[in-house]
């Protein structure tokens, strides 16, 4: 069993952000949204095959 590690908790300021971090608000235009889907969610929305399904015959 490894030695217990020091938690960052004590070195952090005990303060919470009042704002929720909305990463989806980074995508504002239709073009940005479609582009994000084609790259980040390429498993479903890219025209190319990816990962384990590359070069496979479609089901």
């Amino acid at each position: 069993m490894d030695e217990p590690r020091e938690s960052l908790e004590e070195s952090c300021e005990p303060k919470r952000s009042e704002k929720t971090y909305n990463w989806r608000k980074k995508l504002n235009t239709r073009e940005e949204m479609l582009k994000y889907l084609q790259t980040a969610e390429r498993y479903w929305f890219s025209q190319e095959w990816y990962g384990s399904e590359r070069r496979k015959t479609p089901a």
Binding site: R5, T20, K26, L34, W44, Y50, S52, K56
Partner: protein, 644 residues
Amino acid sequence: MTDSEKSIDRTVESLLQKAKQDEVELVWDRLELQLPQCKFGQQGVCCKICAMGPCRITKKAEFGVCGATAETIAARNFIRMVASGAAAHSDHGRGVALTLLALANGEASDYKIKDEQKLIAVALDFGIEVGERNTEEILKDVAKVVLAEFGNQEGEIHYLKKAPLRRQELWRKQGIAPRGIDREIVEIMHRTHMGVDHDPEHLLRQGMRASLGDGWGGSMLATDVQDILFGTPEPILGEANLGTLSEDEVNIIVHGHEPLLSEMIVVAAQDKELLDLAKQKGAQGINITGMCCTGLEILMRHEIPIAGNFLQQELAVVTGAVEAVVVDIQCIMPALANVAQCYHTKIISTSPIAKFPGTTYIEFDEENALEMAKRIVRIAVENFPNRLGKVAIPQEKMEHISGFSYETINYLLGGVYRASVRPLNDNIINGRIRGVAGVVGCNNPKVRYDWVHIELVKELIKNDVAVLQTGCSAIACAKEGLMIPEAAARFAGAGLREVCEAVGIPPVLNMGSCVDNSRILIAASAMVKEGGLGDDLSDLPVAGAAPEWMSEKAISIGQYFVASGVFTVFGVTWPTLGAEETTRILFEKMEGIAGANWAFEPDPIEAAKLIIAHIDGKRKALGIDKARERVLFDMAKRRELEAV
């Protein structure tokens, strides 16, 4: 069982004592009065589907009056549980989809599209043209095609195409690809009618088909439509447990599963007029908290504290501090009305399909949702001066990070520029993460409340298995402090801890409500499609568990996990144990059909061992059972390689 043995949650014991003083009967008391419970029912060999019965199978009477064997009876009972569970999730999906259609038709003006990105993704899933079309037009098309999934008669439901290609192929080959969500449920009811289908395996195959219509149909579209209407969850800092109730504010608990009304209650509670009224009545404000999956829905999207899970619904009322419990559908104990009679709490039921004798009924109307919500909040505020006797709110509450939709996990692993599950796959391949388990499901008073969830999850993360969660299991772990990043340092194995620290996430991720188990299916599909972990969901080093299950919905969830190729372990009890062959099909033969089996193990440590052994077996089959670091070659090493 003593009071302290009933739960590991410290809020329980003190409130059980208060309930005794207040002469209130709770779920544990009612369970005791039911003991001993019927063994025939427990083991699945009691049949009451026709008036020649009820029949029960014994050594003396091996057949029911019609001639049905224990195997037929248990298989029929089992898939009826699947049908009911699938119907519950899917009808929830239908409800939110109808609201989406109403919004598209201009008949639900209190709602709006909160996540256009998700709308576009769903449109693409269903083959709807996006391009430059305006959002309202896309919305109309999406609402119509989503609703058509229910009544589809031929072909297969659209979302199956999100699964890995190999899995789709298998479903078609085995004849278990669902045609329409409703059709498969209705077919179960037909096949299990007296004198129709009697072959246990044939019956169980239809159970698989209907459950897939739930996981990849009704539940998945419920999740997606809710994300469109209310936003795709992003990380939030929340609080959990009954300590989130407030002594000097009006407490309103929203309980059930469907967030259509609770979303509006969150808005209504910020209404200035109602806040002023609360002050006039002597309260400092209005405190909304959630319970069960409705609670998770508004927690994930609005940071609304979650007061508790299934077995805390009565205890919340026993605090004497709750002005109103607003209920919608599913997992709401009818006993709430009786408990509330001992206090000032108003139970307000709202769903046209779920009425509770002895409660205030205000029918939900999506066209006037906000007005209705304000009316309900007003009732609660006006009830504040009626608090009786001593209020006893437990101190316990725990912070947690929630909001891990699949989209958010994918984003956190790479950001906008390179969002991907690649880092997850890489860390599974290099052995830092041994595998992934989806631990989900209910609470059950037959076992020590929350204890089985917590022990199982702790054992898994200790052994480097990352845990994805939904439902009451997620709430149990949130209350226990397993959903803060620091939990990785305290409870996780060295490998998992390292990954959690690098990404800044807890080792146990809250993915939402019980329909959000569909998020787990999507995450697993992304892992397969990303590559390096096989070609099918059944190749992945993953497993599912519902260690304190009680509802038919849990059986449907477990069945669609198994039918999707995910080994799944249930605790508490198993509903076919009186039928050897039917149980053998579920525990041994389903692997030959769908690539995974069910298992039953009530002991959490033993259940963890089963899961870890399964994960290790999959790792071995993938050839990743020995830790191997990814080596980046420099030019000298490349030249050496070329020289060979």
